[in-house]
Symmetry: C2
Subunit: 320 residues, 2 copies
């Protein structure tokens, strides 16, 4: 079962958005276009546009309006990836060299800025003031989340709350807002768009926890980048937090910045996998998914509702 | 005569904006707050907020609304400075170490992102959809302008049009938009806010040309950074474009990337000063100022109109 099958009835509209994304990054500046295209062509799940469309389906669905919101969210996501790669000094993303690796940090910074600016441009088609307030608030939190991630690196005494707040800002909020803004653009009542916000928030939390698990359980080939990369960069993700409770393992984890050999890192990953860290992380992810599904209960039955449900369930089981 | 004297009747409101700028960058993330404050406290002319206020005075002036627009414009300007310093690898700005020098490129990138996000947040108080379209368009152009500046570095065969388009995107548009958005927030008729847009555009062009002249004619002490820095970094500004027409000087200018000694650079600057490059640049700046003043003619007499006129004239004569 592939993710795309879960919303196959949206295929025409998703294709339309893909076309629009290509138009969005058009520029008479060759460098800017090349760098943006480099990232766009690396693909991605386009999960945020899918959530925008499905949520809009709960209200008045006009693809000519909605597609702008979908493009906005995907461009903001892409812009944040480009800047993330600068922060993380990452060489690979989705199996491709990153913009910062292919060009340099400066080009990556400005390509991200440009994508971000274009995102705002697309959003101006939406006149509802509340939509702009929702989006700008999410962007502020996204930025704070990134800085917090720098500050929290190698900080081994952080707790679960620190982690949850970080992934909320880094991932869950933008997915929550994708759902909410699709619904707002579909002119649904407040009760519905705040419900979809909560659905997106819970799904986003589950999604990021799953991502953090996969960084340990997947192969380099599946990830498109080296496994265990999060920990190697000092990012204390949920599996690490649980593994740190193991008194034997904790001192080894705290020395991760000294590891220079790939073999040392593989060994540490295997030791973490041998604890209950992954299992406990997966349990928390499932808890969030349950909460997400519960939010959907109150919505009337529809193809869109079924898709939202299926995607949430898929995220709980995804292996890549 | 100091710039501030030209709009002394706005002092209370300018102080209010300064306070609001301090609030805007408040953050529970220490790194983010320190870095933002570092730049904020370096000061600056706050020329964009002044233009916002003065333009708003041509319509319904409500400081509680207008201040948000002023803060937005200043924050966008500051964010672009922080990112500029990454691009230019600059160590000093306004006589202080830059954020990228004091911390690093990554902190500078995210501090800029954060200020930018906060700027958008402040803007959401304005409900007029046209205001958001005007702003997002200017931001897109600002980003393109920065990338174009990288591409155009050390490109000695560029022409006047390339330069003018670059400074339009880099400086003039944001000043134009400061004037226009102040007026839009003041609910003036379209004819008035497009006129103020043009006024701001012409003033902005003159302002940047003057800046580019001062980079040659001012001392390191006055600039708060080394003189001739633009050329040393490969930025082909207007005085350089004119100096390149001098057949004897052109080959020396084209070798600027080889210059490693401060003395070599000083010598080159003196040779450029000995041509008509500065004079011709100043003439073009004056031409833009004339156009700016002409736009004001149609406005009814007011304190604000007088201030706008005085500031434009001041910019034509400023020595720092």
């Amino acid at each position: 079962m592939k993710l795309k099958m879960l919303y196959s009835f949206l295929k025409t509209d998703i294709d339309e958005i893909e076309k629009e994304l290509n138009l969005a990054i058009e520029s008479d500046t060759a460098l800017l276009k090349d760098a943006s295209l480099h990232l766009l062509q690396a693909g991605g799940k386009r999960i945020r546009p899918v959530f925008v469309l499905l949520s809009a389906k709960t209200g008045d669905y006009d693809i000519h309006v909605i597609k702008n919101v979908a493009v906005t969210l995907e461009l903001i996501h892409m812009a944040s990836l480009v800047h993330d790669d600068v922060i993380d000094d990452a060489e690979l993303r989705r199996g491709r060299t990153t913009i910062k690796a292919q060009w340099d940090n400066q080009v990556a910074m400005y390509t991200g800025d440009y994508m971000f600016a274009r995102a705002l441009d697309y959003m101006t088609i939406i006149e509802e003031p509340i939509a702009h307030r929702i989006l700008s608030n999410a962007i502020v939190e996204l930025c704070i989340g990134e800085i917090a991630q720098i500050e929290d690196k190698y900080r081994f005494n952080q707790n679960l709350r620190d982690y949850l707040r970080r992934i909320k800002r880094k991932t869950a909020l933008l997915i929550a807002v994708s759902c909410q803004l699709g619904a707002v653009a579909g002119k649904v009542p407040e009760e519905v768009h705040t419900r979809l916000y909560r659905f997106g928030y819970y799904v986003g939390m589950a999604y990021q926890i799953t991502d953090d698990i996969l960084d340990f359980t997947s192969s380099e080939e599946e990830l498109g980048k080296p496994a265990g990369g999060d920990l190697l960069q000092g990012n204390i993700t949920l599996p690490v937090l649980y593994a740190l409770k193991n008194e034997e393992l904790a001192p080894k984890i705290k020395k991760v910045h000294e590891y220079t050999q790939k073999e040392e890192m593989s060994l540490l990953i295997n030791e973490i996998l041998a604890t209950d860290a992954i299992q406990k992380s997966a349990q928390l992810s499932q808890l969030y998914l349950k909460k997400a599904l519960k939010e959907l209960d109150a919505l009337p039955p529809s193809k869109a509702k079924k898709s939202l449900r299926d995607i949430a369930l898929f995220i709980g089981k995804r292996k890549y």
